[in-house]
Symmetry: C2
Subunit: 287 residues, 2 copies
């Protein structure tokens, strides 16, 4: 079924009112388009939980830094709509920049703590842009549940902090990472990779699996695990590493010792493409 | 009728759900307590427009600067409830600090532009605290209309900018200033004034009436009006003036020439009490 495509806030509010009047529950899947199976897994999860699924497609300029890839970020609306038409998506909201950021726009949401390390350090202002647009979409869609991928682990944590702190009446569900067969976490930016770089990038997920295995075998020292990951990167020839963090999965502060809530997070450039990935390496401790 | 008193977010959400389920409209009157006839006029307006009226009473710590009057701000819950019991108020939400600002709270809303001059300069961080708590109350109450007094002219403008920019699904109605017979704008802080100071403070509203009259008589030069106001303050012996602004009523930028949208805004100390007041001095031009 082809989804209804809406480009204005007023029309979307109208559609949401009709959904509410019919007593139907609403799931929201915010995306920047260039959809892959990771996004589609969020849509499927929304289908499972909600009567109606709304997908938003908007490349949000305020979350890109001045030297980042806003200009070249893939915009593939036709292909996106085709992919969505094979699933049960009721509405696609694909607004213009001016619709969401009219002249005189000057309000932002910022969260400290969980937004500060890692991506927060590498990409100043990134999370401010992310949670501002997410807050706007939450206010416009007034959905019951919003779905985000765990691939952007810290983003999900920041959004959850915002929802908690500002009492936003929405449930946030964070869904599993979807990977290619070789292990590479799906990302819209993977299409920037050459074949050689794609091969090289496999070291990222490989190093995380290895880290998980080390913990499974009893290792509890973050620096040992971190060193092993770095070794894997050295071997693969990935030398532009932004961070390899072994952190508390809730606060994202460096873990002093690995426990069941520990997450390993990586950001690195492969060629000119910045990739991120993560793994809840402490999960075996809970089992 | 005595209102239902609620102190937790969870209970308030429950009450709001019941109101919604009954198909009733909801008006929100956010206050810091120490209620006076200005607040009560907002309640009456909500009664006129909405089926159910919710008054919140919370002295919001994040909007007070380190050297401001948070500690001594009047807290008069019993008297407030008595005043409200004479009106049609269905719910009073009077939460604790911990209920609204639990440990690890770290998210704030900030707006630039209209929040920057005047109060923004005199009280750094004030509007950040205001719109953060207002946003939280909007998210918890999910009211149809929220009522604010025009006495806090810039506050109302900042809240309107926030609602517009973040697409918050609520209507903000700004209601007229309520004054004592002598002209003094009602404020919870008026109770700090000694009898002599109360007398002296009348110069504030007197100067605004005079400014309005000057414009009515054809004056269009902001500096002339500003000087006349200052003269009034000199005569009254008020020498600690924070600002006397003749500004565009929407942007709050200094007016180059007085027109129908011009507002005069004043902040001054009378004794140790900081008072603010304002007047839409250009209204006669529109008539």
């Amino acid at each position: 079924m082809a989804p209804q495509i809406i480009t204005t806030i007023a029309k979307l509010r109208e559609a949401v009112r009709a959904i509410r009047a019919a007593g139907r529950s609403l799931g929201l899947v915010p995306t920047m388009g260039a959809l892959h199976d990771g996004h589609l897994s969020l849509v499927k999860r929304s289908n499972e939980r909600c009567d109606v699924t709304l997908v938003t497609i908007f490349v949000n300029p305020t979350q890109f830094g001045p030297n980042e890839d806003l200009e070249k970020y893939p915009r593939t609306l036709d292909a996106d709509l085709e992919a969505l038409s094979e699933l049960q998506v009721d509405i696609v909201f694909a607004p213009s920049n001016d619709e969401l950021y009219p002249a005189n726009f000057s309000t932002f949401v910022e969260t400290a703590q969980v937004a500060e390390p890692l991506e927060g350090e590498c990409r100043p202002g990134h999370f401010r842009g992310v949670i501002t647009i997410v807050m706007k979409l939450f206010q416009i869609a007034t959905a019951d549940v919003a779905f985000f991928g765990r691939k952007d682990y810290q983003q999900a944590a920041v959004i959850q902090a915002m929802v908690r702190d500002l009492n936003v009446p929405i449930e946030v569900e964070v869904c599993p990472i979807i990977r290619e067969e070789g292990g590479l976490a799906l990302s819209s930016r993977n299409r920037y990779l050459t074949n050689d770089e794609r091969e090289q990038s496999l070291a990222i997920s490989r190093s995380l699996r290895m880290a998980e295995q080390l913990v499974c075998n009893g290792e509890r020292d973050p620096t040992v695990v971190q060193r092993a990951i770095r070794q894997e990167f050295d071997t693969a020839g990935i030398d532009r590493i932004e961070y390899i963090a072994i952190a508390n999965g809730e606060t994202l502060e460096p873990a002093e010792q690995i426990d069941e809530g520990t997450v390993a997070l990586i950001a690195a450039f492969v060629g000119s493409t910045r990739l991120i990935d993560n793994c809840l390496i402490g999960q075996s401790i809970a089992d």
